[in-house]
């Protein structure tokens, strides 16, 4: 069997696909979080960053399609493996006993499904504007950049440029307590998902060993905790009133 056949049809190959798409998705959520944390800075930052991503054009689509493919493979492999796993033990035990499997590892399926539902809502909310349409970025006044926005020292968005007011959209969205709490629960479940997935990736690819598994576990727990806290801080800060929409002087009249 060739490499592609091995990856897609063997048990180990599928686990490797699970791990590789997991690495891609973890890389994405780290970048996504770092970008989002700019909400705590001047509105120029998040709004300039959003405009910069949008201006990438074809590159943005390459990233989007790449992520979609990774998500699709991750879910497809999980589904196939789960069906096979159920089939592998048709008669269940009378006594169910767990020796050491962690709670996070036993909840992967459920945390995964909730995170998928969250992703769908998140896209409908901030990308397509189906949810909370009145505060969608295209339906609120545009924002004028007070300063030039730079990425790695390169100027990418000019001073005075008219851009979408993402920061206000996010803040108005999270002023709804139900939405804010749902986001916090969803990132919490994603963190629980990663609590097993993060070091599990190393095992599937074959890099984990008892020599450094303890250190890897500590890094995993620290990463998941930091990821959760940093993510929850955004809706949390909005609910606490620490983040406010852009001042009227810096936005265009409503179209």
């Amino acid at each position: 069997m060739n490499l592609v056949g091995s990856l897609f049809s063997s048990s180990i190959g599928r686990k490797i696909l699970m791990a590789v798409t997991g690495v891609i998705l973890v890389g994405f959520i780290i970048g996504h979080l770092v970008g989002n944390l700019q909400v705590f800075q001047d509105p120029d930052h998040l709004n300039g960053y959003g405009a910069f991503l949008h201006n990438l054009g074809p590159l943005l689509w390459v990233a989007r399609i790449g992520l979609l493919v990774a998500v699709f493979i991750h879910i497809w492999v999980a589904t196939v493996l789960t069906i096979e796993n159920h089939a592998a033990r048709q008669v269940k035990y009378g006594v169910k006993h767990t020796i050491r499997a962690t709670l996070a590892s036993r909840l992967m399926r459920w945390t995964g499904v909730v995170v998928l539902a969250f992703i769908v809502y998140h896209l409908a909310h901030f990308t397509f504007g189906y949810a909370q349409a009145s505060t969608f970025k295209e339906n609120i006044p545009h924002y004028f950049m007070a300063e030039q926005y730079r990425v790695a020292g390169f100027p990418v968005i000019d001073k005075g440029a008219e851009v979408l007011d993402l920061r206000t959209m996010v803040i108005l969205g999270f002023q709804q307590p139900i939405v804010a709490v749902f986001y916090m629960i969803a990132v919490g479940l994603l963190s629980v998902h990663l609590l097993h997935g993060f070091d599990s990736m190393f095992q599937s690819i074959g890099w984990r060993s008892a020599k450094w598994a303890g250190a890897l576990r500590k890094v995993t727990i620290a990463f998941c905790l930091a990821y959760f806290l940093a993510n929850a801080a955004i809706p949390g800060a909005v609910l606490a009133g620490k983040l406010q929409p852009s001042e009227p002087a810096r936005v265009a009249a409503h179209r």
Partner: protein
């Protein structure tokens, strides 16, 4: 003089899965086992219960056993939901009644996996493991007179690690403990024990590809990295071997795809 015995007497209720044959309906049946010695092994307790059943004219409980010293891998069964019972790093035959307390209800079930079809009561057919071993094939060594000692240098850490893998007795506890009935720990141990030695190198790639392919075809589940297998293993074989096998499998798949092959030669294992 002999030391005074610390043996105690205990009575337990045994709740055993009884099933007359592969297609027959099965269910749990309770048996009272009274006045047992705490120094009895679990299998001796089953022998005593079976003697009583035979005396009463009932069918004795069928269970697999052979060496009764923890090295053959024949004994199996789930005791209170754990393969080989409550102890760590021991097989059912080395589980003693002192592990239980007077009045306990002990639930005994066969190993459950599609790849291990039930034969009778607590006995399952584990010949799927033999098929995986057969798929591993041969290793290329010079036969004839015994070679000089140490003519092939083997680093001590590799020899030790290979020995850890070779400790696998093929009992199937890893499959029984895994919530997916995956055979990854067994196959990983068998793949690694040869893959760690210089003598195992010529067929290293073909061995892992063939053994994993056979494992997949036999209907075992997939690994979810929960490490229940190594926790239940009577030989405490590490799940590190699973990571090693994953790496070996990936490398072998890459080589199988890109490594040039002779157009004229046939045969051999490489």
């Amino acid at each position: 003089m002999v030391a005074e015995t610390k043996s105690k007497s205990l009575s337990i209720t045994l709740r055993v899965w009884r099933q007359a044959g592969p297609a027959a309906p099965g269910g749990f049946v309770d048996y009272a086992a009274k006045n047992l010695s705490s120094d009895m092994s679990f299998l001796e307790m089953l022998d005593v219960v079976n003697d009583e059943l035979t005396m009463k004219g009932e069918e004795p409980i069928a269970f697999a056993h052979d060496c009764r010293e923890g090295i053959c891998g024949t004994c199996s069964c789930m005791i209170n939901g754990k393969p080989h019972g409550p102890g760590h790093g021991i097989a059912t035959c080395q589980t003693y009644m002192r592990s239980f307390t007077d009045g306990d209800v002990i639930v005994v079930e066969p190993f459950r996996a599609r790849a291990f079809p039930l034969i009778k009561d607590l006995v399952v057919d584990r010949s799927a493991f033999d098929k995986i071993i057969q798929a591993g094939g041969f290793i290329s060594v010079r036969t004839g007179a015994a070679p000089d000692a140490n003519s092939i240098p083997v680093p001590k850490p590799d020899a030790d690690l290979a020995m850890d893998a070779a400790a696998c007795i093929g009992c199937g506890a890893c499959v029984a403990a895994c919530k997916n009935a995956s055979a990854m720990l067994f196959v990983a141990a068998k793949v690694s024990q040869l893959g760690l030695f210089p003598q195992g190198q010529p067929e290293r790639d073909s061995r892992v590809l063939s053994m994993v392919g056979t494992m997949d075809s036999l209907g075992f589940g997939n690994c979810t990295n929960q490490y229940e297998c190594s926790a239940a293993c009577p030989k405490v074989i590490s799940h590190d071997f699973i990571a090693r096998m994953n790496r070996d499998y990936l490398r072998a798949s890459v080589r199988a795809t890109f490594k040039p092959a002779s157009a004229s030669a046939a045969g051999g294992g490489g």
